[in-house]
Amino acid sequence: MRNTLKKHYYSIREICHGSGYISLLSITLITLLLYVLSLFFANKQIIPLLIGTLNKNAFASNTEYLIFLESLNFNNELTIIIPILCTIILLVNPTNQLKSNTLNRILPIAAKDKVISFLVIIIGCTIISIFITTLLDFAIKQYLRSKYFNEVLTLQESIGELYKYRTRNGYLFSVDYSPFLNSTKHLSSILILSLVCNTLIINFILLFQKYSIIKGISLIVSVLFIAFYLRNSLIKMNHNMALEVTSYAYETVYYIYFPIMFICLIMSFYFLLKQKEN
């Protein structure tokens, strides 16, 4: 047992520090970078907020400023994919090394041990990145609430709204606002998704010699296109019946289809390690 753990520790250390640059610092930096990017991509209010923080006179009137603050919605749905993207970015290099570095390819590590090491790293990176994203999000929201909450109250009082009902779900200055991210609520789903996406990318890198990620994504898009085309054709053939997406359907995807897909990808990864030539 101790030897098995040691063996996996050495293999994980080789992937993290030998073939790749995976450390707490690199996970934190990439997560931070992706979080900042997601703010600009997902939240149109970030630029007015930055301008407002620096100079609130940029708003035409106090009322406009109040309307802006009241409507400030900091729910960033992209935060869910940050841990997955972060893990993918960190794993690209070690996976490339598996394909092209002679030293790496002849290391005496059993293929199943390599697969296990990669899975442990995917899970570890995803969880750490979720934790950092949650912490960042929480800290920013708490900072904004502590900085602007009293200002919102003062502005509301100044226009005579003493008892404004502020339970607009999701808005930063509503009373029942939850600072916790969606990612903490859906930890298991994100983990499953991260495992599927990462093993998919690893398979693409090992499968294709050049431009593997672009080729892999093109392949998925083509398959999805055919699937949608077939689905639409089938619906038309069945008298335009409507499909209802229920929560049951989502659960089926997460807890049945994704695990099956994941197992297939793991098997593919294992056999690529055993049989891939260069």
Binding site: Y10, E14, T102, L103, I106, L107, P108, A110, Q275, E277
Partner: protein, 269 residues
């Protein structure tokens, strides 16, 4: 012992690179693998390392571990230094800490001695070393792994003149009765005095698979100013001719591998 049985390999079926090679590589010997460019030397090394799979035939170590299994046990027995090893962003001590652990007989002492002999700063960053220094570092690591099978593809390529001599000394030092060392090279003079056995590949076939003593029993190597009928192969040198003849009177001569190689290429032997 490594057994190669009916080994064949191709990327395109109509253009085979290795055709039906069979031989046994004995422990305790240094093999020189020679051949023209594109004749399949590197392919044969990759097949031995398990990086490529034979299209026909099989390679086994001690008749137990086939190369196609790519088992941990197979890889534990071998190490390969490619012609151009991949650079690493690690510092030498970090590299050793991470990678030496996978080789149970790794000799830290030998590695340090090799680094000192090659004059490589022991704490340097691998990527910041020159090509030749990186090659020397990888050779030092390969020799220190103490694996049973050591595959070296053009090991002296990129090495300065003193380093070639140091490499020969280190290689002679690590050789023992258990090890099989295969050196693929074009620079035959660099390893001429080291090798025990010559393997020459031509058009995917092993046209010569013989130890040096057996070659010297069959042929004598020398110089002459006059070409005579008993000369099997000759090459003009500065003042006279380098020759190969049948060794009818059991004379002891020194082998000239380059001359032997050229004679075989010209189908004179």
């Amino acid at each position: 012992m490594i057994t190669i049985n009916n080994l064949g390999f191709y990327y395109k079926k109509e253009k085979p690179i290795v055709k039906s090679i069979s031989t046994q590589l004995q422990s305790g010997k240094i093999y020189g693998l020679l051949g023209l460019n594109g004749e399949g030397k590197t392919t044969l090394l990759k097949l031995l390392a398990g990086l490529l799979f034979p299209k026909t035939g099989v390679i086994t170590i001690d008749n137990k571990f086939p190369s196609t299994e790519r088992s941990k046990e197979y890889f534990e027995q071998l190490y390969m230094v490619p012609d151009q090893p991949t650079s690493s962003a690690l510092h030498i001590p970090e590299f050793i800490k991470i990678y030496s652990i996978f080789y149970k007989d790794f000799s830290h002492q030998l590695f340090e001695e090799a680094l000192i002999a090659f004059n490589i700063p022991p704490k340097s960053k691998i990527k910041s070393l020159s090509f030749g220094q990186q090659k020397k570092f990888h050779l030092a690591f390969a020799l220190a792994t103490n694996t049973k099978l050591l595959l070296l593809d053009e090991p002296t390529n990129g090495l300065d003149i003193p380093s070639k001599a140091i490499f020969r000394k280190l290689l002679a030092k690590v050789t023992d009765d258990e090890k099989i060392i295969i050196i693929s090279t074009h620079l035959v003079h660099d390893i001429e005095n080291l090798i025990d056995h010559v393997l020459i590949i031509k058009e995917g076939l092993l046209v010569l698979d013989s130890n040096i003593n057996a070659i010297l029993q069959l042929y004598s190597f020398g110089y002459t100013s006059m070409l005579t009928d008993d000369i099997l192969y000759s090459e003009k040198s500065i003042a006279n001719y380098k020759t190969i003849r049948h060794n009818q009177d059991n004379r002891e001569t020194a082998i000239d591998i380059e001359l032997l190689f050229n004679a075989i290429q010209d189908q004179k032997l």
